[in-house]
């Protein structure tokens, strides 16, 4: 009753099934529902999923690196959501913080520095911009008691149009009006697998995820954040300042989102710029929330979930061109949506224990034949 309500399903699931197993079951359920819908619409789900699988994880030369590359920003935006959730808050602002971070990253084009330093400065700028942008909702919450759910959504809109404006008028490339100036070579993440989008930004995402893990579970500061998220009254009793944990988690979440903005500009070939309408950024913040949920709001779980979602994205692109009756890319989003729904709706999720029980019953029925039950 008193446990932070947001954190249900992180430590204990509604179903009593292990969280990781529940995520896997949700993913399977999502794929099944997707298959049913495909059948209803006259597509061949086996062929489609085969294409999706091959497109996502079919080879080391192109498919897997592409899936990983698609997962990189998702890792970071998922961390934004999870850090704040661990602190007991529902931060929906990753999207906007990422836009601002991306815009800040692009400004390095106006600087002249040698290679690693230029890149580093850009990353730091993006991180700082994300953090500063996230302080808005945090301060509104602390000083005026504004719900962070509302304020982060509002801030998403503000930043969206702010960045639209910046892209169109301030950072615009005079020769290419549909995009901003390009980030110079000295500030780009090196490409790891030639011919793919996979850049060294993946190390940044990986490193940040590990850092968040270490911070939350191995430092007193992270301990305070988690305690405040799980039981604010007990945290206060334990001498923990809730103000501090709110500010800290929002700032750290903002850094993660800002880094996502850096990854999608300084680490995303071929443009290395923000295209007007933000097609390379749009929805990565929201998808990150789905990744966070499937990853159980744990940095390590998020890495796997991001790989899965990245694979869905990458594979979906292949799926839509495969066979004579290709399945449109939107089907992938149906699958994603179903997965999230399956985990978000407790009643729906009751199916899982039933499935597990049915499975056990099957095993048991098979048991006596082998003389196991006496």
């Amino acid at each position: 009753m008193r446990e932070g309500r947001l954190l249900r399903g992180v430590h204990r699931t509604h179903t009593g099934v292990h969280p990781a197993l529940e995520s896997v079951l949700a993913a399977i359920l999502g794929l099944l529902v997707g298959a049913v819908i495909m059948l209803l619409w006259g597509y061949d789900p086996w062929q489609a999923y085969w294409a999706l699988l091959k497109g996502a994880f079919g080879g080391f030369g192109y498919e897997i690196p592409t899936s990983v590359a698609r997962g990189v920003p998702l890792i970071l935006t998922a961390l934004t959501f999870s850090i704040c959730l661990r602190a007991g808050m529902f931060n929906i602002g990753a999207e906007g913080q990422m836009y601002v971070g991306a815009a800040a990253a692009v400004t390095v084009a106006y600087l002249r520095l040698p290679y690693p330093w230029h890149l580093l400065v850009g990353v730091l700028l993006a991180a700082a911009a994300g953090a500063i942008w996230s302080l808005g909702p945090a301060l509104l919450k602390l000083t005026r008691g504004v719900s962070e759910v509302i304020s982060t959504i509002m801030f998403n809109w503000i930043s969206r149009f702010l960045v639209f404006y910046l892209v169109a008028y301030v950072l615009v490339d005079p020769r290419q009006a549909q995009r901003t100036v390009r980030i110079p070579f000295s500030a780009r993440f090196p490409i790891l697998v030639p011919g793919t989008d996979l850049s060294a930004a993946v190390y940044m995402a990986l490193g940040f995820a590990l850092l968040v893990y270490f911070l939350l579970w191995h430092t007193a500061v992270g301990y305070e954040v988690r305690a405040a998220g799980l039981n604010p009254t007990a945290a206060r009793y334990g001498g923990i300042s809730i103000r501090r944990t709110v500010l800290l988690s929002f700032a750290l979440g903002g850094v993660a989102a800002g880094l996502a903005g850096a990854a999608t500009t300084m680490g995303l070939p071929p443009t290395y710029a923000i295209i007007s309408g933000l097609p390379d950024l749009m929805n990565l913040g929201f998808d990150g929330m789905a990744v966070a949920m499937v990853g159980r709001n744990h940095p390590i779980g998020i890495l796997f979930a991001a790989l899965f979602f990245g694979g869905l994205n990458a594979g979906g692109r292949v799926m839509q061109f495969y066979g004579e009756n290709p399945v449109p890319l939107e089907m992938v989003r149906v699958v994603m949506g179903t997965i999230v729904l399956a985990m978000a709706i407790p009643e729906l999720v009751r199916i899982f224990p039933a499935l597990v029980r049915a499975g056990r019953a099957l095993v048991r029925r098979a048991g006596p034949a082998q003389g196991e039950e006496a």
Partner: protein, 530 residues
């Protein structure tokens, strides 16, 4: 005993039978082992056992809320297996939980109404209120009806929890430590009510750690030890000594010996006599302290007192008379309206809890689930709550020293005999009493200058409670100051060097325990100066 004959006749029928119940939790803990038990109408059964013996687990299984790993619960009325407490209530089984199952933001009336209605029916609040008022008069349990229950003191919440279940027509009533925060008078009234229910043919199971209560009300006693049923006897046929021995087993250990010696229920008096001469300098000084409450504008009125080093200052009273607010004000959890409070001459009003702890304060909170523990956290994580910034637990860059923390927890587990699978077990998986031991252990291990203890032995078994009391006394003797707030009158009287009786935010009197008779205390607690 008048109705004994009538009850004898009913014996042949049973209401509920547990057959070969075993419960193994997911982490492998065997909480209940092969227990077979029958509950009959018109009978009050006492369920006894040390902390972690499996009492709560067994009763949850009996009430159909927790599926057993092996065995079954049968009733002539049908299968006993429910998805929610309400289904159980509809079947005729009501359970008063050790850790209350109340909706914090709802008032008492709403909480009770909630247990009556189908989920989507409009709440019949007016009818519920009328029923509740009648029930309060009959049972002697009074609660504020229109205040969100999370604002109530633990003792008041306990009363709401009991009323919630009593308000339903149930055939089987299970009470898991219902009296842990009630005063003796409230217990007497509750018991009178339970006897009436027994007379109406209800079946009642009562869990308690107070052997006197067992003797006072039960017809039959069932004793659990490490999950196994080791005794099922008529109350009239056993002595308290035998019960205590059953609980702890024949094996002679120091703790066991102590429990047996204590079985007479007399808490040995510990007051340092002639304390006025022996006590040291003042530690806590409170003057004109006025504290707002959640349910009333002022909960503590213009209170002044001192607690000296080397003394235990007890505050007795019915829960909800300002004790919680006083303690919260002194520990930085609630702002005061007026007055001063100092520790060693340093002002503490307006400081946050961390700053107050730095002055050498340990706080054992009354509500272990709301304040004392972060339930999903492990034992280790809970054991450093409030001391997580101490240099022995926190190294450079704020990195936690898990090695040292685990060593610390292991020493707590050993010293306080906390039953757990290890430092990594979630606090949620501990039994109520073991959770209490963890909190008390954590706070006393701070070796503070002053201990502010609310209900420190709530839910502890006889041996563990005595162990904690011994530690408090020993700390007193080493010159620490102790502020003890407890509804357990025996405890306050036995331990305190001076006792204050609190009523509606004021002290009705402060005296040495031997100067007060129980009758006089009862009157003072009821607000009668006499």
């Amino acid at each position: 005993m008048i109705s004994a004959g009538a009850r004898e006749r009913k014996r042949d029928g049973y209401f509920l039978r547990a057959e070969g119940i075993t419960k193994v939790y997911a982490d492998g803990t065997v909480a209940v082992r092969d227990v077979t038990l029958e509950l009959r109408p018109g009978e009050i059964v006492g369920l006894l056992g040390e902390n972690g013996a499996g009492k709560t687990t067994l009763t949850k299984i009996l009430s159909g809320l927790l599926p057993p790993t092996r065995g079954r619960v049968v009733s002539p009325r049908g299968p006993v297996r429910f998805g929610s407490p309400r289904e159980a209530l509809d079947f005729g089984i009501g359970m008063v939980h050790q850790h209350f199952a109340l909706v914090g933001t709802f008032t008492a009336v709403e909480n009770v109404a909630l247990s009556h209605e189908r989920p989507l029916a409009p709440l019949a609040l007016a009818a519920t209120r009328a029923g509740l008022e009648r029930l309060m008069a009959e049972s002697g349990l009074k609660v504020p009806l229109d205040v969100p229950v999370e604002k109530l003191a633990v003792g008041e919440q306990q009363r709401v929890e009991i009323l919630k279940v009593l308000s339903r027509e149930v055939e089987l009533l299970i009470l898991d430590e219902p009296t842990s925060v009630l005063t003796p008078l409230e217990v007497d009234e509750l018991f009178a009510f339970l006897r009436r229910l027994r007379g109406e043919g209800k079946s009642i199971v009562l869990i308690t750690h107070k052997l006197r209560e067992v003797g006072a009300i039960t017809d039959r006693v069932v004793v659990l030890r490490k999950g196994a049923l080791v005794g099922d006897v008529r109350t009239a046929d056993v002595t308290k000594e035998e019960l205590a021995q059953l609980m702890v087993g024949r094996a002679v250990g120091t703790r066991a010996a102590r429990a047996v010696e204590l079985s007479t229920e007399e808490i040995p008096a510990h007051a340092a006599h002639g304390a006025a001469a022996a006590r040291g300098p003042g530690v806590l000084h409170v003057e004109g302290l006025t504290v707002p409450g959640d349910t009333k504008p002022v909960a503590v009125h213009d209170l002044s007192f001192d607690v000296y080093a080397g003394e235990i200052f007890g505050i007795a009273g019915v829960e909800g008379n300002g004790q919680s607010e006083l303690v919260e004000a002194l520990t930085g959890l609630r702002p005061a309206l007026k007055g001063t409070a100092t520790i060693h001459g340093r002002n503490i009003l307006g400081l946050d809890p961390r700053q107050i702890y730095r002055l050498g304060v340990a706080h054992i909170p009354e509500d272990r689930w709301r304040l004392g523990l972060v339930l999903p956290f492990t034992l280790a994580e809970n054991a450093i709550l409030g001391v997580h910034r101490w240099p022995q637990f926190r190294g450079p860059f704020s990195v936690l020293r898990w090695g040292k923390i685990h060593a610390h927890v292991r020493s707590l587990i050993e010293r306080f005999e906390i039953q757990a699978t290890g430092p990594g077990a979630p606090a949620r998986s501990l039994s109520g009493g073991n959770q209490q031991k963890l909190i008390v252990g954590r706070e006393l291990a701070k070796d503070p200058a002053i201990v502010i203890a609310s209900q420190p032995t709530r839910g502890l078994d006889v041996g563990a409670a005595q162990y904690i009391r011994d530690i408090l006394v020993e700390m007193r003797d080493r010159g620490r100051a102790i502020l003890l707030v407890s509804a357990d009158l025996d405890e306050v009287l036995a331990l305190s060097d001076r006792v204050a009786i609190m009523y509606e935010g004021r002290f009705m009197g402060v005296a040495r325990p031997e100067e007060l008779s129980r009758e006089r205390i009862g009157m003072l607690m009821g607000g009668v100066r006499g």
